[in-house]
Amino acid sequence: MILHRLEVGGFRCFSSKVAFSLDPEQINILHGKNGSGKSSLLWALIRGLLDTHRAGGKSVEALRPWGTDLGPTVVVDFEHEGKCYRLEKNFLENRSAHLSEQQGNKLKPLAHNEKAEERVREILLSEAPTVGLTKPEKWGLARVLWCPQEHLFVDGFAGRVLGNIQELLGKQAMNQDAVALQNRIEKLYLEYWTSQGKPKGGKDAPFWMKRQGDLPKLEEALADSTRELEELHAAQEAAQTFHDERAKTQSRLEESQNAVAELQARVAEFMPLVEKCGKLKAQCDAKRTEAGALDGVIKQIAELRGKEECTGVRLAELDQAIRDSSQKEDGLQRLFEKVEEVLKSLEGGDLQVSSLGQLLEEAEKYNAGRQQLFEMQSRLQQVFQAKEEIQRNKEDLSGLVAPDDATLSTLDQLATKRVQLQTQLDGALLHVHLKPSTDRSMEILQGFPLGTHQLTAGGDVHVSGSPVIELMIEGFGLMEVTGPASSAAELEQRLAQVTRQIGETTARFGTANVAELKKRHQRAVVLEAQTTGVVKARQQLLGGQTTETLQEAIAQFLQRSATTRESHPSWKDGPPDVAAIRQQLEGATQTFQQRRSEARDEWKRLQTELGTARTARAANERERGQLSKQSGEGRESLLRLRADGLSDVERLQRFKDLSVEAVGLDERYKEEVSHLQRLGGDPRPILEQAQKQQETATQAFQKNDRALHEHRGTLKKLLDRAPYERSAHLEEEIGEIREEIGRDKLRADALRLIRETISKCEEEATAGVAGPISERASKLLHRIAGVRMGSISLSDELAPWAVEPAEAEGAIDLEDLSGGEREQVYVAVRLALAELLTKDAGRRELVVLDDVLTFTDDERLKRVLTILEEMRTHAQFLILTCHPDRYKPLKGANFIDVQQLRR
């Protein structure tokens, strides 16, 4: 298709109509600034040729110029296979499409609306949109040849365009027959399947699917009736079981009823007999009771009488015993009193023992006192000795004249200071040491020791002094020695002062010898310590007493001893023998204790015997009292028992008569009892049990009967539903449907197999298309960008996805190329396809490029333009750009200024 003219109105930025013509032979450059409407004009062309006039929705509304209600209109004059056409299309308002053929000056209408659009689609090999605007994948040839802004990217081609390409490459002879056959196949296929290969749904669903939809309900119904049938079979089995069970329980019930009847008959025979036996027994018992009571009376009377007699005898015995025991008691009492007196007398103690005891005590006291006296006397003596020692020490101390601690300390300090001063002085003095080799005399004029001195040969002479030492040495002359002048004098003064102080301090001690004074001090300390010790010892000896009190105590002891000796004159000769006295005492004590013990034993014995006698007497008296009481009661009882007025003989006779009667009754009773036993014992318990069993059997039977009855009801309901018949009909219906489904599905699957197999074969054929296109596009790329990028890799849908440079090990993804290189790859592919669809197809087609080389440098752009020039011979180009100057090199290009169109 070649474009001659385009008219647009009410379309985006073109509220008013604009129109422009293209040169069919030249490269047309539609240029203008950004926003001038270049792309809008291209879109108007696309929308006009490819979209349905009925398209609506937001995307179509967006075609109106802003702020208006204008309906977009597009008029396209184009040429195809030597004929010129005009397509007029109105969107949104007065929707319509009109196709006319140019015949001379006239336009001959060819088709309207859908028909018109269909014809155009045939030319462009495009497809009708499903809804809204036509998507690029359905643009047909326009998809390949027309490249709106930002649609340079190629993601593949399919459908009729691909078929066209394949055809052109000679891969498949798409003759009419094949197309027609394929269309027939497709048509039949689409009766069952969608184009995506899924079964059609909804009202378009194929027969087998619709029928399949009928199955679930039927299958469910079949399952229900099968279940019912199974229920019926099970219920029949159960019914038989119920029936058998009922029969069993019925049999058991009948048995139990028979048993009960039999037992009831036995009971009817048994009970009167039981009553009779009862009566006889009662009578017999009554007689026996009476006889027993009478016998009891008789026995009681005899017993009472016997008792009375015994009681009398016993009473007499008791009286005698009481008398005897009283006598015995008296005797014992007298003896006891005697013994008690003896004991009392012994309790007082034995004189001899006590006097010996007392003697011993006194002797011990006396000896102890003497000991104490000796001890006190010794202490007193020690006290006096201590006193003397203390006195001596004090005298020694006072004669010692020793300094005390403080004085001694002062002396120490002064002595030390003196030594220090001396030393310092020595240090401050001048010293001259002479060792004469000959004898001579020397006079010390200044120094120490002053005066004339005779020097001996080989001797040592020391002279010291300060501040000068002057020596007049015989045979030598005057020697003057000088040194530091000041300190010695001071030191001497201080030394003299200290010496004086020492002298003053020690004056009262009679010596200035500090060492001596220290000795004295030490001695004084020792004496003081000794004195202190003796004083303490003395105090201990006194024990808190004074010497006078101690002496007084001694005197008292002496007095007491004297007094005691007067009581015991033998002690004057010597102290008493305490051991001997003790021994005597022990002997006497032992004798006394033995006597006393014997008396005590006797006392106890008599006491016990007396107690026993009294106890026995008391017991006899109690017994006597009881027996008297019993005897009284016995007499009363006897009177009561004889109150019946009968004599003993009469009473006995009566008892015998009663016994005989009782025996008679008893025999009759036994007879009746044996009769009962012959009847088999009391059937009532057995009857009771049998009745319970009957009750149980009745309940069981009734339960089974009810169950069977209910079950029959259930069965009847089930039978009424004739489940087998229902399931048979359902199975048959389902079988029929499945057969129909099978047949139709087989047809559907067969068609799908045909289509899929054809499609697979086509794909395999298509795979052979990508190669040649890749080769062409790669050559174009080399011309544009050089050989560096190598060859272009295309998918089966002819979409470029990588380049394969010779230097690289593998393919390089387009994403890894620069924007410009990527752009050039796409352009190369599009131009290769355009070449195929125009030059190889032997027809001229419109190729549109909208701002597709924005990233391409001028150098490469120039090469692209060269290629476009070459292709101009077989394709009409329309290039949209805002840089018209870049395309100036094109020879004879037709430049169309969009701005100009508006004027």
Binding site: L715, L719, A728, D749, A750, C761
Partner: protein, 367 residues
């Protein structure tokens, strides 16, 4: 005595395997009873023995039970029947209903107790269970007397060739063991006479009076039995009573024209409206005859009461590629070759159908 021995009426049976003809098949079974009635009338039979499985199941409709009762009441003689394994005697089953409503001339024998019949004694062996491993004829006592002794039982004659457990197995010498003159059996759907000592047939299956499926040989009959006296050899005569014809046809296609001849044969079959036909094709399908398969399908399904064609064993002739070469060159032809390969190698029914479809489309025939 003369009597008619029949069994396995299977009334009310489902027939899903014959599609829309199911109802007709069921109705035919009732028609067969009328034919038996006619036979009884014509041959002056003393009584009719039905050896079990009168009904297919206890769950059949009451209407059917009533209908059968009316039919049986229409016999000119007494009818003696026993419950079989399908309609075994059980509380709440069909026989409860039958007893309530049927004529007293129809004797439903539910107890293993000898019954006096015209000319002798009948020893019925009613089944009380659907399945059992017990021989139902075991109870029949060996008694002396002049009357002809007839056993009536339902079960499977014991056979060492049988795999697994037989249902209600019957000893092959049951008749001899019990001193029976004849043992009338039911359960097997084909007529089967079991020769005994001296070649006398005293045990026989009468088969079903109306076939129940394709492949039931020797069915659609009753046995007319004559026995002179006790101890004499019974005379058996097979008499057809069935309404419908179940035609099972196997055809092997070797060469072009076979299919056409088959179709011709089928067209010539009499009484197609009373015939159910099943055609099993095997062999090679020639491309030129592909449409004949459709014609055959059409023929059997439209002309006959019921028709089924099984062409799964029919494979496209591997040497017959002529039509494929007539297809447009390219992917369509390639696809046809591939599909043919699948149809032949895998015997895929979808591929076979696809091939036929493609052939039809290629020849301008669309469905």
């Amino acid at each position: 005595m003369r009597f008619v021995h029949t069994a396995d009426w299977q009334l009310g049976m489902k027939a899903a395997h014959v599609g829309k003809a199911a109802e007709r098949v069921r109705a035919a079974r009732l028609e067969a009873i009328r034919n038996i009635q006619q036979l009884v009338r014509e041959e002056n039979a003393d009584f009719v023995l039905i050896a079990g499985d009168t009904f297919e199941d206890h769950g059949v409709s009451r209407k059917l039970v009533g209908e059968v009762g009316d039919l049986l009441a229409g016999f000119d003689c007494g009818v003696y029947l026993i419950p079989g394994n399908h309609d075994h005697w059980t509380l709440g089953g069909v026989w409860d209903q039958a007893r309530e409503r049927w004529s007293k001339r129809v004797h439903v024998l539910t107890e293993a107790k000898a019954v006096e019949v015209k000319g002798g004694w009948l020893y019925p062996c009613p089944l009380t269970q659907r399945w059992s491993d017990q021989d139902p004829t075991e109870w029949i006592p060996q008694e002396s007397g002049d009357g002809i002794r007839i056993g009536l039982a339902h079960g499977s004659l014991r056979s060492p060739l049988w795999e697994g457990q037989q249902n209600h197995p019957i000893a092959t010498d049951a008749a001899q063991r019990s001193g029976l003159d004849y043992l009338a059996l039911g359960d097997w759907h084909s007529v089967k006479e079991v020769p005994g000592r001296g070649g006398a047939v005293r045990v026989a299956y009468c088969g079903t009076p109306e076939p129940t499926n394709f492949g039931e040989p020797d069915s659609g009959y009753v046995l007319l039995v004559d026995i002179e006296t006790h101890g004499s050899r019974p005379r058996l005569e097979k008499r057809k009573v069935s309404q419908l014809d179940w035609w099972n046809l196997q055809a092997e296609i070797h060469e072009a024209g076979d299919l056409g001849r088959l179709i011709k044969t089928i067209k010539q079959r009499p009484n197609p409206s009373g015939t159910l036909v099943r055609v099993r094709l095997s062999g090679m399908l020639f491309a030129t005859e592909a449409e004949l398969v459709e014609e055959l399908l059409e023929l059997v399904s439209k002309r006959f009461l019921y028709g089924q064609v099984d062409d799964s064993a029919l494979i496209p002739n591997p040497k017959d590629d002529s039509w494929i070469h007539n297809l447009p060159e390219g992917s369509i032809r390639d696809a046809a070759k591939r599909i043919k390969g699948i149809a032949h190698d895998d015997k895929d029914p979808v591929a076979r159908r696809a091939l036929l479809q493609l052939y039809d489309l290629a020849n301008g025939e669309t469905e």
